[in-house]
């Protein structure tokens, strides 16, 4: 989906901070973050470990409470996990006692909806990621990449407005990861959801995003935002283009890695 | 190789450490205790429960006082306690020896595993009547029964403990050209210590169990088990409960002592646990 500056803001963070008490010390995980994600946009949070990017994501997902600041989603203040949000984690988090399709349907069960109404949707999603023949398999019979494909189907089953992705393919090898990233982009544009991706991989962030929020560590804060103007769908050839390299270098400079 | 018992039994301590008491939990705990004691006092008094069979709290406390003042049972206490400790010492020594002899080589360990499982599944207390029949009613039979029961977890846990180091650790030791004895002393033995201690703690409970069963079973012997049996046959419930209270106190104290020793001995695994949680 092409970037559209006029589209509405879906998520807005204003002055969001997170502090932990560790013994007598106060640790500032995240300090005064102002950020927004527009509808249909792909936004990345890029930074080294300890920059609070996962903390920010968990706050958006309602898993953590911010110490200060306001988070609004679709104009409503965020207080607890919402059903129009879907989260993906570094691990696939498949329950080993459920088959692939039962895992995909888990959100439906938790929401108390009728599973029968969603079986067709689940099968369709599994087909889109080439997993049809594994619908009745158990997670431990699948490779890591296949498990993440199933997790991708699970996060999309209830058609969330917002996808929160915490390095979802970080545990996979480089090759599988690239394939999975393309798959993710395809499904995200197909569904029209907004996506927020947490990553520490600079070229991944550039390849995937419409905008990149670059963050620094100790205390975690926002350094700046990079606009990524490339057309969609993104093709692997992009990696070779000089504009691509330019943006990677720009991000490296902002992170102090140049 | 199985170490069910030890694993299961070591869980309580871990959990206790994790749960912090709050004002709320203290209130809940206190209220429960007060209600429990009140019901225990009131129901037998009102005749809802038979006071002969279930004496009130105050009856029990009175029984405990009478027992302590009476003093005629010191010999029983000494007999039970010394049998438990002697049997435990023998059982632990025997268990560790068996574990080292049979557990150092993976080949032997695999070969005897089915027998170990069968022995684990055997309720070893059934040996008690036979041992009493052969060894008489004296302390020997008590100790023999307790040893037969209590060496088992020490043996199993020693075997499991010796197999705990990872392949990488073994490879590392080999890269240093360590001898087999060095391998045992510097790698396998330290890795086994924590789990062997857990087995020793479980052995304490089993040794106590064995001695009590022997005392309950054999009519001529002395000991706290015999006291409980006699008082309960006379339907002297306050004194029965008093002796049970004494046994509970001793058992909890023995295990608490073991806990302290364990904490001192395996400081490294404690600190590691601290880091993880």
């Amino acid at each position: 989906m092409p970037k559209n500056n006029d589209s509405k803001v879906l998520v807005r963070l204003e002055g969001v901070s997170k502090k932990y008490q560790s013994g007598s010390n106060e640790i500032v995980a995240l300090s005064g973050l102002d950020l927004e994600a527009r509808e249909g946009e792909f936004l990345s949070l890029l930074g080294p470990s300890g920059c609070g990017k996962s903390t920010a994501l968990n706050i958006m997902g309602g898993l953590l409470k911010a110490s200060e600041g306001i988070i609004t989603i679709a104009g409503e203040e965020m207080t607890k996990p919402r059903r129009d949000i879907g989260m993906m984690f570094q691990q696939a988090v498949m329950f080993p006692w459920r088959t692939t399709i039962e895992n995909v349907l888990l959100p439906i069960e938790v929401f108390g909806l009728n599973k029968k109404d969603y079986v067709a949707k689940a099968e369709e999603l599994l087909e889109m990621v080439g997993m049809t023949e594994f619908a009745k398999s158990y997670p431990w019979q699948l490779s890591g990449g296949m498990q993440q494909r199933a997790a991708l189907c699970r996060v999309l089953i209830h058609h969330p407005k917002l996808l929160l992705l915490d390095e979802p393919f970080g545990a996979l090898d480089e090759f599988t990861r690239e394939t999975m990233n393309q798959e993710l982009l395809r499904l995200q544009s197909h569904s029209g959801s907004t996506a927020v991706l947490v990553t520490h991989n600079i070229s991944e962030a550039v390849f995937m995003s419409d905008r990149i929020a670059v963050m620094s560590a100790r205390p975690g804060r926002l350094i700046g935002v990079i606009d990524v103007p490339f057309e969609r769908p993104r093709k692997p050839e992009l990696y070779g283009r000089p504009e691509f390299t330019k943006l990677v270098v720009q991000a490296r400079e902002m992170l102090g890695l140049a | 190789m199985t170490s069910t018992a030890a694993d299961v039994r070591s869980r309580g301590k871990e959990l206790r450490k994790q749960s912090k008491s709050t004002t709320q939990s203290v209130i809940v705990g206190t209220v429960t205790l007060v209600v429990f004691l009140a019901l225990w006092e009131i129901l037998p008094t009102l005749g809802v429960l038979n006071r002969v069979l279930i004496p009130t709290v105050s009856d029990t406390i009175w029984g405990l006082g009478q027992l302590i003042i009476g003093g005629y049972w010191w010999e029983d206490l000494a007999s039970t306690l010394s049998s438990v400790l002697i049997a435990w010492t023998i059982g632990v020594a025997f268990g560790i020896t068996m574990g080292v002899v049979l557990g150092t080589s993976p080949f032997v360990r695999t070969a005897i595993t089915p027998y170990a499982i069968a022995l684990q599944a055997l309720p070893k207390i059934v040996l008690a009547p036979v041992l009493i029949g052969a060894l008489g009613f004296g302390p020997e039979s008590k100790i023999a029964i307790a040893v037969a029961i209590c060496f088992f977890p020490v043996w199993i846990n020693t075997m499991v403990g010796l197999s705990l180091p990872s392949a990488a650790e073994f490879t590392f030791m080999r890269s240093l050209n360590a001898t087999r004895v060095q391998l045992f002393r510097k790698l396998q033995m330290p890795s086994a210590v924590p789990i062997v201690l857990v087995g020793m703690k479980h052995a304490m409970l089993l040794s106590f169990t064995g001695v009590l069963v022997a005392e309950i079973l054999s009519s001529a012997s002395n000991g706290l088990g015999k006291l409980v049996k006699e008082f309960s046959i006379q339907l002297n419930m306050p004194l029965t409960l008093a002796v049970i209270t004494v046994v509970l106190t001793i058992a909890v104290s023995l295990v608490s002592i073991m806990d302290v020793l364990e904490r001192k001995a395996v400081f490294w695994s404690e600190s590691e646990r601290g880091k993880k949680s």
């Binding site: 607890k80 989260m87 984690f89 691990q91 988090v93 080993p96 006692w97 959100p107 069960e109 929401f111 929160l164 | 190789m1 199985t2 069910t4 694993d7 299961v8 039994r9 869980r11 959990l15 206790r16 994790q18 749960s19 939990s25 809940v28 705990g29 069979l53 080949f107 032997v108 070969a111 005897i112 595993t113 069968a118 684990q120 599944a121 207390i125 059934v126 009547p129 036979v130 060894l135 499991v160 197999s163 392949a167 990488a168 080999r174 106590f208 069963v213 309950i216 706290l224 088990g225 409980v228 049996k229 008082f231 309960s232 046959i233 339907l235 029965t240 046994v247 058992a251 909890v252 023995l254």
Partner: protein, 282 residues
């Protein structure tokens, strides 16, 4: 790292000739059985041990038909089995439910765990005479004693198993806005099952012990009662036949629970009783 793999690697490291030696350890296992019988036979022939303690294997084997064929054996055996099963069911159910209760409330956990976990140290046999005084010589008292003996193992494994749910899985349920009950039923209980089976395994053994001890203290029937009767008539071979019966009962309970575990916890053929395999995942 599994111990099986460790052992293999360790074996090859320790013993360079290992690869050439193709002997499976289970040959030794099989060979040990006649060896044990032989040692048993020789020991009893030499009368190293008191014959009242240990009769020869031939005496025990020839007594099997006599003991198992006696009119009352069935009554005694079924009595003990009923006591054990009823006690195990009761103790395991109470242990499981209490584990669930304390597992879902941190207040209750902090309030009750210190007292309950003291049970870890308690030799439950000490209350056997009390239970007999309360319930008499019938089945009920034996079942209660068996229940008390096995309660703790199931309780503590349930409670600790509930906290074993993978942190990411908890986050997933949380991000879906799952209720506490949903998280308990759909995530925590299944995650706890392998550990709970370890508790059931131990609980089965302790339930049998509880029932036997209770029969020792006072009973009018049951295998423990029968064992005492054989002992007092100095019929030691018959007593050893009963000990073998208890071995069969214990091993059957072990195998039954292992089988149930493989069926129910099919996704993980590992449990607390199998630390060798368990380490695979961690």
């Amino acid at each position: 790292m599994s111990t099986a793999a460790t052992s293999g690697a360790q074996a090859t490291l320790l013993d360079p000739q290992k690869k050439r030696r193709k002997v499976s350890p289970y040959w030794i296992t099989a060979a040990l059985f006649p060896a044990i019988l032989l040692v048993w036979f020789v020991v009893t022939q030499l009368e190293v041990l008191h014959p009242i303690l240990l009769p020869g294997p031939e005496a025990v084997l020839t007594s099997i038909p006599r003991v198992l064929g006696s009119e009352t054996f069935g009554i005694h055996a079924s009595r003990t089995l009923i006591e054990t099963l009823a006690g195990f069911a009761l103790g395991a159910a109470v242990g499981f439910l209490l584990g669930l209760l304390l597992g879902s409330s941190s207040v209750l956990r902090a309030a009750y765990l210190p007292a309950l976990s003291a049970l870890e140290a308690v030799p439950t046999v000490i209350i056997a005479p009390l239970i007999i005084a309360w319930f008499g010589f019938g089945i009920e008292g034996k079942a209660v004693q068996a229940a008390i003996a096995c309660f703790y193992a199931v309780f503590i494994t349930t409670l600790s198993g509930l906290s074993l749910a993978n942190a990411n899985s908890v986050s997933l349920m949380q991000s879906l806005g799952a209720s506490k009950l949903q998280t308990l039923l759909k995530l925590r209980v299944p995650s706890a099952l392998p550990v709970i089976f370890g508790g059931l395994q131990l609980g089965a053994t302790t339930a049998i012990i509880g029932a036997i001890v209770s029969e020792f203290v006072g009973a009018d029937a049951g295998l423990g009662f029968l064992l005492l009767r054989y002992r007092s008539s100095y019929d030691t071979p018959a007593a050893w036949v009963l000990i073998l019966c208890f071995l069969v009962i214990g091993v059957s309970a072990y195998l039954l629970i292992s089988f149930a575990e493989k069926r129910i916890v099919f996704w993980r053929s590992t449990a607390v009783s199998r630390p060798d395999l368990e380490k695979n995942d961690h």
